[in-house]
């Protein structure tokens, strides 16, 4: 494809090279990742490629095909206006399929006093929004998408990429986070409306600092408020499903996950308002420490 535009990014322990036919998505990324540590030596773990789906699609109704070191055969292309989303999806894909240094849990996480609160669940459960809200209220934001469980120490490492706000979560966060931390509004993407939020600066400065997992929640948005206990076997099975590299890590991931389930208290929480659920989380947090 010839020479592409390049950008190098570091998010938590992972280093990326983004290579794009168009300058624009990288320009947007560069601006939103301005407070992240630089990667001057250009050593990376993964390359993400953003290229036209067909050669003429570089100029005519430009559409971005996401690929890279790891790729999915049937990934749908996105319009160039959503190039930023394409880049984020490309980086997530590299992590989901290629990361081997930690057990990857599809979970958000925040930290207080060196201890981590993890939230996992299906998309739409509210885990991402909750982590963003807690990140504005005294907690250290660690990540809204992946929590990295170290198989050796059992600690959680942050992956504080841009927070990907969807639909109603956008307005909710616009009320509490400063305007200069938001990216462009992307309407009607395949995932609904999306707007990226730069994590608080304190989260970026501490992106190498792990925390000991202390509480795991399975939130569910849109239900009558309730808190339920969960059996260890259910938690274990649901976490294997929430992990993208559980199988790829073999025995190491089995040991890490059984250790995690044995030591970390877990609750399922249903909620229908942000304010109320934060109180519930605070109560649970204080009960379990």
């Amino acid at each position: 494809m010839g020479q592409l535009h390049e950008l190098f990014l570091k998010i938590g322990p992972a280093r990326f090279r983004l290579a794009s036919t168009w300058h624009r998505p990288l320009e947007e990324l560069e601006s939103l990742y301005r407070d992240y540590p630089a990667l001057p030596d250009q050593y990376v773990d993964f390359t993400v490629r953003l290229e036209p789906e067909k050669p003429w699609r570089r100029y005519i109704r430009p559409s971005v095909h996401i690929s890279g070191d790891y790729w999915l055969p049937d990934a749908a292309p996105l319009p160039l206006a959503q190039g930023l989303l394409a880049a984020e999806m490309g980086m997530n894909l590299q992590m989901a399929l290629g990361w081997r240094r930690h057990l990857l849990l599809h979970a958000s996480s925040v930290e207080k006093d060196g201890k981590a609160l993890l939230m996992t669940g299906l998309s739409g459960s509210g885990k991402s929004t909750l982590s963003a809200m807690l990140g504005e209220q005294g907690w250290r934001f660690m990540g809204d998408e992946f929590a990295l469980l170290c198989p050796i120490t059992g600690n959680i490492y942050p992956f504080p990429r841009l927070i990907s706000l969807k639909n109603q979560a956008i307005a909710a966060m616009e009320d509490i986070a400063p305007a200069d931390r938001f990216g462009p509004m992307m309407k009607a993407t395949p995932k609904g409306d999306i707007r990226h939020l730069i994590p608080p600066i304190k989260a970026l400065h501490a992106m190498e600092e792990p925390a000991k997992p202390a509480l795991l929640l399975f939130p569910r948005f849109g239900y009558e408020p309730a808190v339920r206990e969960m059996g260890k076997s259910e938690v274990f099975v649901r976490l294997t499903q929430a992990s993208t590299n559980y199988v790829a890590l073999g025995q190491a991931s089995f040991e890490a996950l059984t250790g995690f389930v044995d030591t970390v208290p877990t609750r399922a929480i249903d909620f229908d308002s942000g304010k109320q659920v934060i109180e519930t989380i605070d109560t649970l947090w204080n009960e379990h420490l």
Partner: protein
Amino acid sequence: MTRRSVPSAQMLVDLLRDPSNHVPTDGAVWAGLISIARAEALIGTLAHRLINVDVPGQVKPVLEDAIVSAKLARRQALWEAGCARRALANYDGKVILMKGTAYVAAGLEAGSGRSIGDLDIMVARNDLGEVEEMLLDAGWEWVKPDPYDDQYYREYMHELPPLIHRERDRMIDVHHTTLPLTAGPTPDAQAMLDDAVQLDSGLYIMSPEDMICHCAAHLMADGDLAGGLRNLWDMHCLLSHFTSEDPGMWEKLEKRAEQHQLTQAVRRSAWHAHDLYGTKVPSLWQRSEFWSGAFKKRLLARDEYGGEIRKMTRQAFYVRSHWLRMPPVMLTKHLWTKWRKGGAGPR
């Protein structure tokens, strides 16, 4: 002013060939090499080649990851082979492991760090029905729901339609020879079965000559050279290992290749292994041919991001792969059927 060196598939080849003398010290070059190695399924092999080489600290975690992945690939491949062995415990004939699984089962250098996808085995053609029945009983299922594809495999191919295990999600390809029945050369499958070597597990691997012949057939006489650099690396390792173990190997190989009608494929593979990876071959084998440049261009068709380049060359080799596989009339019929079903063409 020095120009920034652009990572290429050639640089990856040089690094594999002679690791200690080609270690880059520039992060951007490594970024490209890693992408190319991943695209060519050679990252595990590269990591193994660099185990005792001084590489920049920033690259080490990537290489360590690749070693972990390769270790798991090896374990899973051997596990799958064991599952097939148990499923076929009551089968009297020989079950021969092929390609990656055979290399790791035999502890060959070609297996070090190698990625392994499907389990490939070979049995006698007359026993295919019995073997398929046993595998279906043990939980494998047909993948190809299309009756045309299914029939095509059964009539013209060198293997059964692929089967996938319903619980472990792993594929098995059951071969009865090494090239499609419609291809030009007809390898002597019976001779391969007769000379197979038994492992402690009770499974078999091919004799050294046959293993090399099969590798060459797979690389040069079948398919469009996708994954060619990896298959050529297999060839390099097999040739280096077996010819250093047995000085008479070249002569035996020459004879065996002729018996399998694979002389051209074996010579061509050996020449390219020699050309790219520095395999020691006798002077008689060191002759290039008119097409060598085209093959080399295709083998090295990656850009510095690991992307595919040289679309025309790739397309030409794709067409060649069909040409090799089928006589013209049959090819026309096949493409017509596939086109009506909406799905012929590379990738």
